[in-house]
């Protein structure tokens, strides 16, 4: 098992290399001169030259790529054009809110969506099943930020149950921390929930037709026991896979959700950087987020062994 983990980790290096090169190459493939666009409408030619030098755009392309990759390997993500601070520091400052938000959303979605999917598959064709499917399709179609505003309007503006916006770090007490995160996490979890519920239902439907399920029912096991221990366990591979893949949705949604709820996370950092055309920060966030995404999917791959003893590495 251990050598396999190592091998897989090594295999992520080329993927991350492509991410790094792609993020860098965007500077060159986009129409127009990026230095001019980043410098803004009122920049002097001196400012533009400075930015060009800072981004390394004044050197041949391959040299630039080499310098860029070398810096990443050393853990140097560059410095922000706007604030002059190292990008790694900026990301470190903003990580807490995003991690808290995505983890919370993940917990909510999985704990709601999996039971819903199981129930829908078990009662296939029933009203419950249809309701779950309608919920799943609408979940995909709902704009995240709009849902956020609707929830704010109902629970914060009208009923005053929860705060409208903002973030309270966990050091300042767990309850305020949680209160500030409930609405954003629920907002963010909807798409993910829809995705997982739909996959759980589909995967369970495939398993529920198997002989061993009929046997389990025939020998008089309680339905709950059959569904969880016999069916869900065997249907779990695609579900775990979609949880890993769907993480991309969660991160994308977090960017928008943080903007709605004024959470000081990576999403806000990115959006602020875009408005200021602070490209090094955007590069850094993309690299870190993609890295986390690749690692999560690596963990999912390794989980297969735990979930299905037939798979051996």
């Amino acid at each position: 098992m251990f050598p396999e983990i190592l091998r897989r980790l090594v295999a992520t290096i080329p993927v991350m290399g492509v991410v790094a090169i792609a993020v860098f190459a965007l500077l060159h493939v986009t129409p127009g001169d990026p230095a001019v666009i980043i410098a803004g409408d009122y920049a002097t030619s001196e400012d533009i030259a400075k930015i060009r030098a800072k981004l390394g755009l004044d050197q041949p392309f391959l040299t630039q790529v080499g310098i860029w990759l070398g810096r990443i390997v050393r853990g140097d993500l560059g410095t922000s054009i706007y604030s002059g601070l190292p990008v790694a520091t900026l990301i470190g400052q903003r990580a807490e809110a995003t991690i808290a938000l995505t983890l919370f959303a993940m917990v909510i979605s999985v704990s709601v969506a999996v039971p819903l999917g199981v129930l829908a598959a078990w009662k296939k064709g029933s009203l419950v099943d249809r309701a779950v499917m309608v919920f799943a399709v609408s979940g995909f179609s709902m704009p995240t930020f709009w849902l956020g505003f609707v929830l704010v309007y109902i629970f914060a503006v009208s009923f005053h149950w929860l705060p409208v916006q903002g973030f309270s770090p966990i050091e300042r007490g767990f309850w305020p921390f949680l209160r500030h995160l409930i609405l954003p996490a629920v907002t963010l979890s909807l798409v993910y929930m829809a995705l997982i519920a739909r996959m759980t239902r589909a995967s369970m439907l495939g398993v529920l037709n198997e002989d061993y399920i009929r046997t389990a029912f025939a020998k008089g096991l309680a339905p709950r026991w059959v569904l969880v221990r016999h069916a869900l366990k065997n249907a779990s591979l695609p579900i775990v896979t979609i949880i890993g893949i769907g993480f991309a949705l969660l991160i994308g949604g977090a960017v928008v959700t943080e903007s709605v709820f004024a959470l000081p996370g990576l999403g806000r950092l990115t959006v602020d950087a875009i408005i200021r055309r602070d490209y090094p920060v955007i590069q850094g966030v993309i690299l870190v987020v993609s890295g986390v995404y690749v690692l999560i999917n690596l963990v999912v791959d390794l989980l297969y062994v735990v979930l299905d003893p037939r798979i051996k590495y």
Binding site: V18, P31, S138, S141, F145, V152, G246, I251, I274, Y293
Partner: protein, 312 residues
């Protein structure tokens, strides 16, 4: 399945696509023509009964499209006209959806916003499909290209689509054209993956072998043997790309990196309304409802097509 990075064919807003490789898309043999004697009306009714999702989706989408295409007809005014005296008016007879902080009519702006969304959605899905299919066919057919290109695609798909689109917008001026570019690029690797998977399985098919034996060259085989088999899965994929492009355009505009502020797009209207959630919730409520309904209709069309065309 070797690695889950290989199955990143899901995108935001798109319906769930199965993580396994899609089938070659060869339609199963049609059942015998049992209902030849049915009248046209009866056939339509039967089709509606059998494909309610598809029909509902198409009808809703058609209504929305007509709304946008003939926007001036539907008792709208000038979407850019400001009437400061009437600013932040709640929904009343003259302003069905209220007015925004410049006194512009939210109803008018919402109806006009349909145009931007549908144009972006349609263009992104068509361009994504054209570019992705072309590249996918070539990559899938030439083994040497395949190994390298698929690593590149894995890397590109490891970047969450919305972040890639945002990064692209940071490097370009805001315009509808650039939004389309920023949304097409993240979709291309996903289309390539679907196409390439089908090409790989079809390449070994007997019909391809036969065509080769008869002297057909590669371009001919790609055009007349592989591409037709791909049509059904690609049409389904196009609807999901369209749905997610419309959502993403709204996200980008909402975040201030999408269509230029003077264009009334749903994302822009809501972005302007976000400061007034407590005072004038209608500025956000109505465009969002239209957006959700549009995306829902397209997703329903996608789900319906998937069933009708028998795409797994």
């Amino acid at each position: 399945m070797s690695s889950s990075i290989h199955v990143l064919n899901t995108s935001l807003g798109g319906g769930l696509r199965p993580p396994s490789e899609p089938p070659p898309g060869i339609a199963p043999a049609k059942p015998a023509l049992e209902a030849e004697h049915l009248s046209r009306g009866a056939r339509i009714i039967r089709f509606v009964r059998r494909q309610p999702t598809l029909v509902v989706g198409v009808v809703v989408l058609a209504i929305i499209a007509l709304g946008g295409a003939f926007a001036p007809v539907w008792w709208t005014g000038d979407p850019l006209e400001m009437r400061p005296i009437e600013r932040l008016t709640s929904p009343v007879a003259g302003h069905w959806f209220g007015t925004d902080n410049f006194g512009r009519d939210v109803y008018t702006r919402t109806i006009y916003g349909t145009r931007v969304s549908l144009i972006v959605g349609a263009t992104v899905s068509i361009l994504g499909l054209l570019i992705g299919t072309t590249l996918g066919l070539v990559i899938g057919f030439y083994r040497r290209l395949d190994a390298v290109m698929m690593r590149v695609m894995d890397g590109l798909m490891a970047i969450p689509a919305i972040l890639l689109a945002l990064a692209l917008m940071a490097l370009m001026k805001t315009s509808v054209r650039n939004v389309i570019i920023a949304l097409v690029i993240p979709e291309i690797p996903r289309v390539i993956r679907v196409v390439r998977a089908s090409v790989l399985s079809l390449r070994e098919h007997t019909m391809v072998e036969g065509a080769r034996a008869l002297g057909a060259r590669t371009p001919r085989i790609l055009m007349f043997y592989i591409l037709p088999a791909l049509a059904a899965p690609l049409i389904v994929q196009a609807t999901y790309i369209c749905a997610s492009a419309i959502l993403f355009e709204a996200y980008l505009s909402f975040l201030g990196a999408g269509t230029p502020p003077h264009i009334p797009s749903w994302g822009n209207i809501m972005a302007e309304g976000k400061t007034y959630v407590q005072l004038a919730f209608w500025i956000i409520l109505f465009p969002g409802l239209f957006l959700a309904l549009t995306v829902l209709a397209i997703n329903l069309v996608g789900d319906g097509l998937r069933e009708t065309l028998d795409v797994r």
